[in-house]
Point group: C2
Amino acid sequence: MTITLADLPTPSLILDRQRLLNNIARMQARARDLGVILRPHLKTAKSAKVAELAVGKAGPLTVSTLAEAAYFARAGFTDITYAVPMAPAKLTQAAAIMRDAPGLKLITDNIAVARAVAEQGRALGVTFAVLIKIDCGLGRAGIAPESELLLPLADALSQPGARLAGVLTHAGHSYHAKSIAEITRIAEEERQAVLLAASRLRAAGQDCAIVSVGATPTALFAKTLDGVTEMRPGNFVFFDLFQAGLGCCGMEDIAVSVLASVVSHHHGRNHLLIDAGGLALSKDTGANEHAPGTGYGRVCQPGGELPLPDLAVHDVHQEHGLVGTGQNEPVDFAAHPPGSRLRVLPNHVCMTGAMYERYHVVEGGNDAALNPAVIAEWDRVNGW
Amino acid sequence: MTITLADLPTPSLILDRQRLLNNIARMQARARDLGVILRPHLKTAKSAKVAELAVGKAGPLTVSTLAEAAYFARAGFTDITYAVPMAPAKLTQAAAIMRDAPGLKLITDNIAVARAVAEQGRALGVTFAVLIKIDCGLGRAGIAPESELLLPLADALSQPGARLAGVLTHAGHSYHAKSIAEITRIAEEERQAVLLAASRLRAAGQDCAIVSVGATPTALFAKTLDGVTEMRPGNFVFFDLFQAGLGCCGMEDIAVSVLASVVSHHHGRNHLLIDAGGLALSKDTGANEHAPGTGYGRVCQPGGELPLPDLAVHDVHQEHGLVGTGQNEPVDFAAHPPGSRLRVLPNHVCMTGAMYERYHVVEGGNDAALNPAVIAEWDRVNGW
């Protein structure tokens, strides 16, 4: 029996396979054109199926938790970079994951942690491969490329139990760029930061095999990645309203949405009530930075066309979403009777996806039929 | 072997049992003093263990998803109100849950849904008990108590397949009160709203057995609940920084926190980096409404004392938390070396908890030892 969207419980997480394939093909072409390896960040998709479509069965991958690393290692991926600064207490688990994924790589920017990594590597009988985290302007983690800490860090990672695998940075501040030109400029700063760090390491006699950059905006709009070996965009597989507002994709590229049911009409307050709230959509309101009025998500017909003009989720409570026009324009209540369904495009798909155990996969792009078939269920790895 | 906090992976969700018991005892005393039944909202705790401590083995409970209803029904709770407006497509699942929990009750404020409930009740061979949702000023869901829709809704729910179980409201706007006096005023409006609806129904010959109010602030500060039969606070079992800012609890009452590891120091940017970010803490920033500077959470020593003065999580990315002073005051880096641990009090515990599959339970209150033993793991029911 064919399952369709109409058969699914709500809220459910819907993945449009054709849009996913298009998005992956676009980024694969970018990596080819720029002459770098694509090491996608699976913190967004947290799915072995999506990873395999992007890079094949072994990797390379980037992950944000050791739960992801363990999941992808079990699924056969061997080349995995865990790109959140390492906590010493996680080294035993990392060593266990390396039995399935010998290409596991860690990151740090801290000398005490670097020493703990080498020490525990010796104790555990493994050699941890570690990249030094470089800050290219985001100001979250990492040392500046010209920091006096760079060579001591490399030395600490060159002791038995550890080895220096390279340098890594992330231009997350590109998400707040005001124009594509600004993204391109930040991409060049991102490149220059790791190039400088790599050249300082090499001048000191260190091997620096991996020179890694990555964020979806800079991966899309970098002019050159000469000297860089790999890029780690993550969001691009699905995109979301934040990326659309930033200019990285169109609405028709957003591959993930939340299927919700209309549960009531409130004419006096001019809103539809849906059963997707702060947990089903997340409370991330970042997309409003570039597109005010986005609220907690834009609303489509269940078939997944483009967003309905002027309709957005204006407020959320834990399990309630309030869908309105945000203007004096009245909601077209007759078009959305109680029991009918909508799909909500997410503000920030990394946060929204994290609430779901699986994707319900549909085939079809922008002009999908109103009630597409569900062709697969793909699992996700959440938590830690 | 005794497991302690120091043995847990990070991030982990920590529950202080003594604070939980104190919070439950306080609300039980309130319900007794006010002469109403306590029907706690388990959308916060999503835990059978917590439910049992609050109301014993059968209920009464309130839930926010049918996944919760099914979980509590399996655990032996029979009297459960699903307090989110019903979607017609969920009726088959509700009927299945009623086999274990015959006291399942639904809510609606919509005449088309009410008719669908009765119709499907007949088709499924069950009688759905339904409360009419009343709006007492929140403006999210429900009809006004004086609405002309009240009696037609009651009539639609008096057809075979359904029965009118009562009226229910939620003064969620009490969360935005500026003073305790304002909460008390809103509590009285909440009471008056359901009393008016109940009296109109009774005057029309309808039975209206349940007259239900509920929100943690109004439950704590109502002067009287005369005429009301039950209250449904939820957050009170744990409390959080929002409730502390509102004046509903002290910092020393907050029973749930996130255990995190320090993974780096950034002296130039004056922040500690921890491995609890937007997923581990949630991106809910509501607590800043009453306590500016709260950021994404206040920070305690791992033993769970009161928050460290001036230290808060000022920014989060998916798996990164940036802990700083928010002032020119320098962070005491020496007190928090890489690899050391902290506990973060959540802004909004309903959102934070939803990312975790379980609680690690510790015993002890305000002056817990620095490395308390983990006395139990309690599961949670997430998703839909």
